[in-house]
């Protein structure tokens, strides 16, 4: 990290400390630091991300998004639990229950393809949403930060592809 960035970061944390010991912005930055998606980002870059995310609060059993809807944002769970469900021929299957620090709907950052599953708040939850076009704009305003986020996204997609391949190979072996 360059000296300029170090000074900028120091100044930022000092100003934040002076401002309030527990401000919503500080809370968000501290939370974002715990999310694997943003673990490569510096505090200064996290502050920039915290400025563009939207805080959303959901009631119990309220849908965050529904299967088939066009995706526009990735959601990070700040508080509470979210159930990921898939519906087929009127039958709903729960795939996973995600907790604080987890994220879902990340494919929406790449394109507008429909959501492959629904996400529903279990007992009420708080999420941070990062909108696709805000991230696209970040490419122009802060390319380094956007680059880190896209790299993290590529790594996650790659990991998922690898595990899917392993599953397919295992299924083929079983079939043989």
């Amino acid at each position: 990290m360059s000296v300029r960035n170090l000074i900028a970061e120091k100044l930022m944390w000092e100003s934040l400390r002076r401002w309030k010991n527990t401000s919503p912005e500080l809370d968000r930055i501290q939370f974002l630091k715990t999310v694997p998606f943003f673990n490569e980002l510096s505090n200064w870059q996290l502050k920039k991300v915290a400025e563009i995310v939207f805080l959303r609060t959901y009631d119990p059993a309220e849908y965050v998004f529904e299967q088939g809807q066009p995706g526009a944002a990735i959601f990070l769970i700040m508080d509470g639990q979210v159930a990921v469900e898939i519906s087929k021929e009127g039958l709903t299957t729960s795939l996973a229950t995600l907790e604080r620090g987890a994220f879902f709907g990340e494919m929406a950052l790449l394109d507008e393809s429909p959501r492959s599953a629904s996400a529903r708040s279990v007992d009420g939850c708080k999420t941070l949403a990062l909108y696709r076009n805000d991230l696209n704009r970040l490419i122009h305003s802060d390319p380094a930060t956007a680059c880190h986020i896209y790299r993290a996204l590529a790594r996650i997609v790659g990991d998922r592809l690898r595990s899917t391949n392993e599953l397919v190979q295992a299924a083929e072996k079983l079939a043989a």
Partner: protein
């Protein structure tokens, strides 16, 4: 079990109450909004202009990225740059505005040259030259309007007195050129041209000019009033310039969860479509203005004047149909009063300048429709010509020239908003 049912009922009641409250709140908000718009309609225009300028300015602000510079300082330094450029432009424009003597000379010259051209074309007031039947018909139709323009260009007693003072050297100004004095004298007998066509209508009593003191006081008062209102435009521009997405975030935070992603997508699509249209129109108008300025300069108009006509015509081009007409009137007016014109294109007869101007406006209009508009705007927003005409007439009825200028962007905003909203509501399976 009973407890669960009771809770569900309570929840349902709460949901109904919430829906009633939200509906009432929405209706109240709309009513207050409409009431405020109606009561503060005088403030609407400066707000819209300020917001529009901030909107057009935003891409420059977004491109000016210096990570080490805080946002506020970045915007302030950009404002300083833009302010300095605007100051230079206005300063230059102020120098080009004619003073009192030049205004009087221009009026005298325009009246003289107009009458000269009219006489030349239709032989009015000339017993030797008999105009043809078509020329007579045109003269009969154009005559009343020509008479009115002639009346407008007449110097009143006070102006005549000042012109005569200036002709001998007044307020430290050099004496007026001899040709202008000759024009002035010729204009005194120019009423014969009017008589040939039609006697000017009697001036109604209500139109009798008020005493000079009242006339001067009224514009001053209205000027101060409009200035105090127009101070809003730079303020709106400034505050919207400082906004770093906070307003959008606030409005999106009010949207129910169900419509969260939808609202972001709709806002973005609207922003994209309107931005493309407005910036495209600005570029198109600049291209039309530049073409006209270059063309008029090549035809022999002084550079500063050609530039001024280009800027005005370019701005007027934002009003469909009427824009080219305004440009034509301005350029034709100059071609009528222009003297000692030396065209930069060899072989052009300076006597036929008016014809060349008409051809130039025509060529510019064709270029605009065939080249500029399709390239710059593409199919950004397709509006039916009838909608355009109705919007312009409606705009002029509501807010005069400003209404005409803002009519099409308003229709574009409304059309894009409705189209995008319906498309996205369907995509999100809400309707």
């Amino acid at each position: 079990m009973k407890r669960t049912v009771k809770m569900t009922l309570k929840e349902r009641e709460r949901q109904v109450r919430r829906q009633i409250f939200q509906s009432c709140f929405l209706v109240a908000c709309v009513a207050v909004f409409v009431f405020l718009i109606w009561k503060l309609k005088a403030l609407l225009l400066p707000i819209v202009v300020g917001a529009l300028l901030a909107y057009l300015f935003r891409p420059i602000k977004d491109r000016f990225q210096l990570s080490w510079l805080p946002h506020e300082l970045r915007v302030l330094s950009l404002f300083a740059c833009v302010g300095f450029c605007l100051f230079m432009v206005f300063n230059k424009a102020r120098q080009m505005i004619p003073d009192e003597k030049q205004k009087l000379e221009m009026k005298v010259r325009l009246k003289y040259k107009m009458n000269e051209k009219f006489q030349e074309l239709f032989g009015a007031g000339n017993a030797e030259k008999r105009p043809g039947p078509i020329a007579q018909l045109i003269a009969k139709e154009v005559g009343p309007a020509f008479g009115q323009v002639n009346q407008m260009l007449d110097l009143d007693a006070d102006e005549s007195d000042r012109f005569q003072k200036f002709s001998k050297g007044f307020k430290g100004q050099p004496p007026t050129e001899k040709r202008f004095i000759e024009y002035f004298e010729a204009n005194q007998t120019a009423s014969t041209y009017k008589v040939v066509i039609r006697e000017p209508a009697a001036v109604p009593e209500a139109a009798v000019p008020a005493p000079a003191a009242t006339l001067e006081a009224e514009p001053k008062a209205s000027l101060i009033e409009s200035l105090s209102i127009w101070i809003l435009a730079p303020l709106i521009f400034l505050f919207l310039g400082f906004d770093n997405g906070q307003m959008r975030r606030y409005f999106v935070s009010l949207v129910p969860n169900r419509y969260f992603e939808l609202s972001l997508t709709v806002l973005d699509m609207l922003d994209d479509a309107i931005g493309k249209y407005l910036r495209g129109t600005l570029l198109e108008c600049s291209l039309v203005g530049a073409t006209l300025a270059v063309g008029l300069f090549l035809l022999g108009m002084p550079f500063s004047l050609a530039l001024a006509v280009g800027i005005v015509s370019g701005l007027a081009n934002a009003i469909p149909f009427l824009g080219p007409l305004i440009g034509l009137v301005i350029a034709l007016a100059y071609s009528l009063i222009g003297e000692n014109i030396v065209s930069l294109i060899p072989g052009l007869n300076p006597q036929d300048l008016a014809i060349y101007v008409v051809v130039l406006i025509g060529v510019t209009h064709v270029l605009d429709n065939v080249v500029y508009s399709p390239i710059v705007l593409g199919n950004a927003v397709n509006l039916h010509p009838l909608v355009v005409i109705i919007a312009i007439i409606g705009g002029s009825e509501l807010m005069g020239v400003w209404g005409m200028l803002l009519a099409i962007p308003t229709v574009v905003v409304a059309k894009t908003a409705v189209e995008t909203l319906f498309k996205e509501l369907k995509d999100y399976r809400i309707i």
